[in-house]
Assembly symmetry: C2
Homo-oligomer: 341 residues x 2
Amino acid sequence: MPLTLEDIARLSGVSRSTVSRVINHDPNVSETTRQKVQEVLDQIGFQPNLAAKGLVSGKTNIIGVVIPTNVIKIFSDPYFPLLLQGISASCNALGYFVMLWLSEPEYEHRMISQILHNGLIEGVIIASVPLRDSIVNSLVDSHIHFLMVGRHPLLDVSYLDVDNVQAARNAVMHLVHLGYKRIATITGDLDQISGADRFQGYLNALREAKLPFSQLLIAEGNYSEEGGYKAMQRLIKQKPEAVFIASDMMVYGAMRALREADLRIPEDIALVGFDDLSNSAKTNPPLTTVRQPISKMGNLAAEALIEMIETDSTEKKRIIVDTELVVRQSCGAYLSGAAVN
Amino acid sequence: MPLTLEDIARLSGVSRSTVSRVINHDPNVSETTRQKVQEVLDQIGFQPNLAAKGLVSGKTNIIGVVIPTNVIKIFSDPYFPLLLQGISASCNALGYFVMLWLSEPEYEHRMISQILHNGLIEGVIIASVPLRDSIVNSLVDSHIHFLMVGRHPLLDVSYLDVDNVQAARNAVMHLVHLGYKRIATITGDLDQISGADRFQGYLNALREAKLPFSQLLIAEGNYSEEGGYKAMQRLIKQKPEAVFIASDMMVYGAMRALREADLRIPEDIALVGFDDLSNSAKTNPPLTTVRQPISKMGNLAAEALIEMIETDSTEKKRIIVDTELVVRQSCGAYLSGAAVN
DNA sequence: TTGTATGCGTTATCAT
DNA sequence: ATGATAACGCATACAA
């Protein structure tokens, strides 16, 4: 039922090609006809048929977004919704569409094939791929425009990331400066570059502060609340003075474990987190955490990818987004006293 | 660069149309040629060009998913990721693609226009629309296949929902049966049908139990953690014995408020929640809550919509998904004692 | 059962 | 500056 170029052409008394030119801002149109056509266009609210456009020109204004969910639990983390929101918002603003793949391993092969060959996807944003995942190699080989959220340590690809190593180092140094010596860590998923990098930052800080490293002060928490809970239960026995926790989701779990053990934060154990999920659930007491502007990162990722698409650039982008160490705001009594907690 | 039907035809020694028939399971193909062609197809991993297919047949196997984010905070709720995951999984399994709109008000008009007229979208799943949102009317008028997640009280549309009224009633009756008389509620966003329905369920239970209704025992919490926190702060002054909280996200906030006020759960105030977000963050103490199988609902929604598309059915679906009242599992000391908490 | 021919709505090339 | 026309890759009506 939707109207076509031909219809618009008839309604405005010009040819199909002229209408096409107006739509695509071709300068070779006289101002008068341009206005005349544009008027009809606006009145109708004309939308070009994307399939036809894509078929002939390859331009579809569709990007793919791939988020692996091998670890389903990871999706309980508000990180992904926020990232998606950022991506979606920028795409809306720039006239692009988002096609979403929450990839499951059993369909991964077919998914890649679809993305690369269905002729609709002009570029791909891919987030949180495990380090050894082959999907990245497939994308590299395909020469499709793509951008990773989270750096890749080996391949020469475009990515957007925060400096996880440095941010984690700063977070731990914050604890150091407050006088804590026995500093533990709950790591994220070490198969993710972010998990590995944050752990590296922790190690760097210990070295810098000349604090002893102990395997006993390291607990892997795989980014889930449950993981944080169990990791903290293990750490409690080691009586750390402070813990650097590689994601706020794990902080929630860690806090639960501490409450159950009747340990106070920060008097008995001080915590520093990572992610700043304070928009979803605040903590009591408030938490010092590394703030990543997640939604903003989604914006930037989309904008960068779209630029790559539109300039057809083959140059690899490296976008590093700033983080900051913040005391998460919380309401109520605990706010004033808590420098770290 | 991708291969076309013509290429496959050449490689398997038949005509383009025969290949097309094989792909589309046309019975009018001899078994021998079918096998021959299929072999080439498999080997190549052929993917038909969606744009061309869509252009000629209208079949693109793409559905749209629309989630309004006027209230950005709402997206901190793991509800949407879970729903998306379910939708995505079923679409993967059925060979469909998901195009995502996290709609912002300022682009909503254009978005609708895009969805309806770009010629790619075969159907739409739309979740959590505010009751007065005009987008639903646009969809109805357009005659595109669509399905709402969350019922619509006025319009005759297809939807999938839980019976929020009954589930909320059951949750409150659970408190009643435990002997609580002074039962308060923290409502969700009352502009959402789910919020309104859960509140209605609360009212129904009070009436059924012949408990007095008091405006003072009702606090609106808009589904956010922060909303739950503030609502509980207000309720505490009214000294309720128990509170029905219309979402688990708000429970987290409510628990934070109770901790700050040094009130124990359930000894001082008992809580019942709604949603069962225990996969994201468990609580301590554990919580009795209404479990919605959110991811499963995503599955069902996608499957229902796809069936509507493929049968081109105009009949309106009404899918009601069961809920159950569960004691959320938690680890640790609090599990055994807590019937309600 | 198979092949040939047409057209979907758009962009791009070529005339004018 | 504008119009006519040829693709794009596929499904399908029609011919054989």
